[in-house]
Point group: C2
Chain length 214, copies 2
DNA sequence: TAGATTGTTAATCGATTAACAATC
DNA sequence: TAGATTGTTAATCGATTAACAATC
């Protein structure tokens, strides 16, 4: 009930483990050792074992890990075994891209898309009709929503986030290039595309042009 | 010419500094101390000074930092002062979303959008016509391209990345949920949306429901 | 000048890697 | 059983924070 104390560095690596284990599963692999996995993922075996043992002993000495079991356990840690609901606020290209993405594989179902543009009203994306944002309050009265993806233009993001907070939304997946100012009990996960591109830019402009020597 | 040795943790923070300084600039602020900035950004003043001093002394004792100067210097570090070119491979919602995004503010100009779907051919996004991907080789003969954004479906991503590598592309901004296998001299910057959502899921499911005590 | 704040060194903290006893 | 590989402790490494002399 109190502080869990798992470092965020560990958490950030879990989805990647989950992805690799999913691929192994597709390939019909039954077991894998931390060493084998470390080679594929280009990390150390030590790190894999250390990371996993934050959550429990999923392996077996002399054998390694059962792929399906480990995959599913990591899924549970990440909460992917629970069906969760998402709405998308902002039905522009990015909002539509998210709606078309199949997040149901990881337990997320898009149950609503909202915009202010009346020309989009009723247009369906992946079978979900775009609704006007002023119907959101009504919608939330009859639908439990776990996460709101925020894909509105930067200039509206702050105000819309406040609105979402007031309506009781507790988790925002934010795509606007700002830091939202919401209370502590609203969780914000940012996807800052411009920052990612700036990172790329730095690494590109400072790349080594000579032969890699080691 | 040899190893720069700036840690990636530092690099990842620079875009955020850049963004905050840009906002200060818009507000007409002329100077700022590391302490003031640290309060706004919710980091320590020590970290800000330590980070900046990896690149040089941009401040002045007793005064702080000149907002415009620091903003522009960080921009230069990130390579944002140089005009760079980008093409987008995959003209679905996500590709179109990127094309509509105004990255020219950070020095990136989208000069081409490519897809395999003939129904998209000639359709213009932000004034740029979607071209068939088999014309890419021709295009690259007459256009210098710095970065290719990869927004094709997962199943095609690996093959398209190999194609881009063969055509001489040196930097890929990858949106497909896989780790591309390209040679070391091709830079890959990933945007893994599903991993971001899984992170959100973990934090949401493990959030504290009781009152924050400190 | 006196006060403020940087640049930078030293101390602390946390994360990663190495090593190996436990055990399947 | 012998060999393999985990779980876990200890050692190392790197990043963050604190402190303060330098200096504007």
């Amino acid at each position: 009930m109190s502080e869990r104390g798992i470092s965020s560095a560990v958490i950030r690596r879990l989805p990647r483990y989950y992805r690799y284990l999913g691929e192994l599963l597709e390939n019909g692999e039954v077991r894998i050792s931390s060493r084998e996995l470390s080679i594929r993922m280009k990390v150390t075996a030590s790190q894999i074992r250390q990371d996993l043992n934050n959550f429990g002993g999923f392996g077996q000495q002399g054998y390694g890990y059962n792929v399906r079991y480990l995959h599913d356990e990591i899924g549970k840690i990440l909460g992917l075994d629970v069906q969760q609901t998402m709405i998308i606020i902002g039905a522009g290209n990015l909002g539509q891209a998210l709606a078309n993405y199949d997040f149901s594989k990881i337990g997320f179902n898009v149950i609503g898309i909202f915009d202010v543009n009346p020309r989009l009203e009723g247009l369906a994306v992946r079978g979900i009709e775009i609704q006007m944002i002023d119907t959101l309050e009504d919608f939330l009265r009859t639908n439990k929503v776990d996460v709101a993806a925020l894909t509105v233009p930067k200039k509206n993001a702050r105000a819309v986030a406040t609105r979402l907070e007031d309506l009781g939304i507790k988790a925002i997946w934010n795509f606007a290039p700002i830091d939202l100012k919401v209370s502590d009990d609203v969780l914000v996960q940012n996807v800052h595309l411009a920052e990612s591109l700036m990172n790329l830019s730095f690494n590109y402009r400072n790349r080594r042009k000579d032969k890699p020597s080691d």
